[in-house]
Symmetry: C2
Subunit: 202 residues, 2 copies
């Protein structure tokens, strides 16, 4: 079993389906209502295509096609065991890395699928990576300044440094917090009630 390629949206779909079977349109609604489109842009094209790909990879399977009146058919999907496992593998690969931002954000949002300790270790690894990058940024800025590069060309790099520091600071704050048993952890049998269909308030 090769490590199948997953996009961030693919991971979010798999994670969603672990909460219950669903058809793509409902995924879109749920993801949007949870404001998960902050991390990944959710468009019909990409979502349906992603679902088809997951299906082709055997990570999800059809569990029913029903229709309501004269509306288009809805195909309901369920996650397969290998799909369920793929989420953990993916998060394990990405949470400690410093890849694309949107990749990390999804990994972070799904970090609770890992053991607490493993998440702490991976996040610590990421922090070290970011520290190294920060050093490079500082060196770049120092070098540019010493070469007399005018400020106007260094604005974006300055912002990058600022946000890199903020990211590291945030990790330095988070890591000890989630290390403590006071911090809730684990996927748990129940999911946040407000995000389930219970309220049905839309």
């Amino acid at each position: 079993m090769k490590d199948v390629a997953l996009t961030p949206l693919g991971v979010m779909v798999l994670a969603l389906l672990r909460e219950g079977d669903m058809h793509p349109y409902e995924m879109a609604r749920l993801l949007r209502s949870r404001r998960d489109d902050r991390m990944v842009t959710i468009t019909n094209g990409t979502l349906y295509h992603t679902v088809a790909r997951l299906h082709g990879q055997g990570l999800i399977e059809e569990v029913g096609i029903d229709r309501d009146g004269n509306r288009p058919e809805r195909t309901t999907y369920a996650v397969t065991p290998s799909g369920s496992a793929a989420v953990g593998e993916w998060v394990r690969r990405e949470l400690g890395a410093a890849g694309r931002i949107s990749t990390f954000r999804v990994a972070l949002a799904e970090a609770h699928n890992l053991e607490r300790e493993e998440a702490v270790e991976l996040l610590s690894a990421r922090r070290d990576l970011l520290r190294g990058q920060l050093d490079e940024i500082e060196a770049g800025l120092a070098g540019a300044e010493s070469r007399g590069v005018p400020e106007q060309y260094l604005i974006e790099l300055g912002r990058h440094r600022h946000l890199q520091r903020a990211d590291i600071d945030w990790l330095d704050d988070l890591i000890p917090r989630i290390s403590s048993p006071d911090f809730a952890w684990g996927p748990g049998p129940k999911h946040p009630p407000a995000t389930r269909k219970a309220s049905q308030n839309d």
Copy 2:
């Protein structure tokens, strides 16, 4: 003159060509040496395709095809007047907005193509937008907490708030700084010497 669609990389290519005629491979080298691949991933496929697109849009033109020994031909491009104008238009559209991050970063890096005052106004507009977004994030967090959503599901949102604040703080610091005439501004006739090719200019 429709507002032609430009990708971030396209804008960077146009901006580069305003410094001098160049062939794509040299663009890649220069962009990478300036570490502009922090903002936009630079791969051959995307770069050459982007250049072809700009050419098709009439924003750049061929100014010579030469070859060195038996190496592949190199096509040198120059920016056209409409291409040069398109940079400013694009930056004007994107600098004050809160669109994709990589889009903003490129707009910021090219902000010196605008008048100082205009840049200040646009950045202020962006700050206001970010403030509004921050309020939404805070509201989301407050609501989730009041509904008893466990912390583990709010980690990513917490990071988002932290970085959003950092972004706003950075703008609050930058805007008054670049407003002052002490801050160098404008494209200027000379470019940072370390990044030029020494001779062969203008």
